[in-house]
């Protein structure tokens, strides 16, 4: 039986993500563990970017440095494609007068956040008002974008149960665009009111494309840590939240607005989990009084304890030496989600449908 290599990759990755200088002392074997684990968790470009920003890239030995710069180049290209796609979509929306808010990876790009480039994988996410979503879809189709290969039956389910229309892609381009009308699936236990997101939204520097307010951005990320995030990429999602707190914490009244928005929108539970996990895994500074405040959103003690353990296990960086992933872990997380969301299994359909669409697309010759 092949030997599993000694692996403290996850801890090396966390340390380097928080402080690139911790990696400089690594020997080459340690560097390989860092690269491998960072790749496994899709955070190599992020660590590379922070290493460059810290002025430390030349202190990295040749082979790891080339690997980091290579990852940075790939992420930079995806960021370039994302901004181009956003510009093309916005061009159409502007022509028909539909306001648009950028979400997730492309929003991080507009905010100039360091990890932004590495968050773009296959699509950009934007949001329009629910009442205008059909108009938006038609405008994009008229301007040349093409819809998915889902059959009409699946299309109906997608539109009925999901919070977005099926992805659109302009022929010849790499990224597709997901047009949302709210941030959570409408049938979930969480029903935030989109009107509040629009009311609190701010304008980005990018010619009138909107952004969610800092509090709403964070809550959106927290919701998705428990909703849409794949079983993989969880550590990266956590890093998003960490980056947002780093960016927003110094803004006036941020913490007050955050707790208020969570209370008003019924998003207290995800906020609690996020603020409980971040300091423990990423040593994110959260004011003590805020931690005290969000305890009002806790689940009952047994659930709290069990969730804390589960989340810790699930949100730490995945170890590349472990393959395949233990089935138990996946089942656990599915159960945790459906239990918490109190969604009967059939309502997880939009999530699974979306994954199925992605694998259909991945398999098609392009």
């Amino acid at each position: 039986m092949t030997v599993t290599r000694d692996s403290n990759g996850p801890q090396i990755v966390i340390d380097a993500a928080l402080d690139p200088s911790t990696a400089i002392g690594l020997d080459l074997a340690g560097w390989e563990r860092l690269l491998s684990c960072a790749r496994r968790n899709a955070v190599l470009a992020y660590i590379a970017k922070r290493t460059v920003a810290a002025g430390l890239i030349d202190a990295v030995p040749d082979a790891p440095r080339a690997a980091m710069l290579s990852a940075l180049a790939s992420a930079a290209r995806l960021a370039q494609l994302a901004l181009w796609e956003l510009e093309r979509v916005h061009r159409v929306m502007r022509t028909v007068g539909i306001p648009m808010i950028a979400l997730k990876g492309v929003a991080y790009l507009l905010r100039g956040m360091p990890h932004a480039g590495s968050r773009i994988i296959s699509d950009i996410d934007v949001m329009v008002e629910h009442r205008r979503i059909d108009e938006a879809e038609n405008a994009l189709l008229a301007a040349g974008w093409r819809g998915t290969k889902l059959d009409p039956y699946d299309q109906r389910y997608y539109r009925k149960w999901s919070h977005e229309i099926p992805p659109l892609r302009f022929p010849g381009r790499v990224l597709s665009v997901d047009v949302h009308h709210t941030i959570c699936p409408p049938v979930s236990r969480l029903r935030p009111k989109p009107e509040a997101f629009w009311k609190n939204s701010i304008e980005s520097a990018h010619h009138g494309v909107g952004l969610l307010s800092p509090a709403d951005s964070f809550l959106h990320g927290a919701v998705h840590l428990f909703f849409d995030s794949d079983f993989d990429g969880r550590f990266r999602d956590l890093l998003d939240l960490h980056e947002m707190l780093t960016l927003f914490a110094s803004e006036d009244e941020f913490w007050t607005l955050l707790v208020e928005a969570a209370r008003a929108q019924g998003l207290g539970r995800p906020l609690y989990y996020a603020l409980d996990t971040l300091p423990r895994i990423l040593r994110t500074p959260v004011p003590v009084e805020v931690l005290r405040e969000v305890r009002q959103f806790r689940p009952p003690p047994q659930v709290d304890l069990w969730m804390a353990r589960t989340l810790h296990a699930m949100l730490m960086p995945a170890d590349p030496e472990v393959w395949p992933l233990a089935h138990g872990g996946r089942r656990w997380l599915m159960y945790a989600r459906s239990h918490w969301l109190r969604m009967p299994p059939y309502l997880l359909l939009p999530h699974l449908l979306r994954k199925a669409w992605r694998s259909v697309r991945a398999a098609s010759p392009e």
């Binding site: 290209r77 370039q80 494609l81 181009w84 510009e87 093309r88 061009r91 159409v92 022509t95 301007a143 040349g144 974008w145 302009f170 022929p171 010849g172 381009r173 790499v174």
Partner: protein, 119 residues
Amino acid sequence: MLLSGPDDRRDLPRGDAIDLGGVADSVVWRIPAGQRLLFEDFEDGIVMFDARVGSTHLLNVTAAEALAVVESEPGMTSDAIRARLIDRLSIDPAQLPVSAVGEMLTQLENLGIVAAETQ
């Protein structure tokens, strides 16, 4: 007029067909903010790299010259650009109809290489 890369180019960001009525007098042309264009001049054509979008294009002399005009004299209408081209390239005006220049500029705009502004 403007030749895009051949079929074996992959992932080339392509323009989306929005008609801006590029010939109208109310439209003037500029290089978009943050634009950077690199050129390599060969005996059989000019290859251009759009560093903002990351796309590569094959241009003929007229298109390359039009870009040079827009870059050096931003804010001109397509009529004025046409006049410059006829002058700089010493072409017979009949060889360069007004509609052709408008079409070329619209194509360039669709690719994000130039920007149109309605006055």
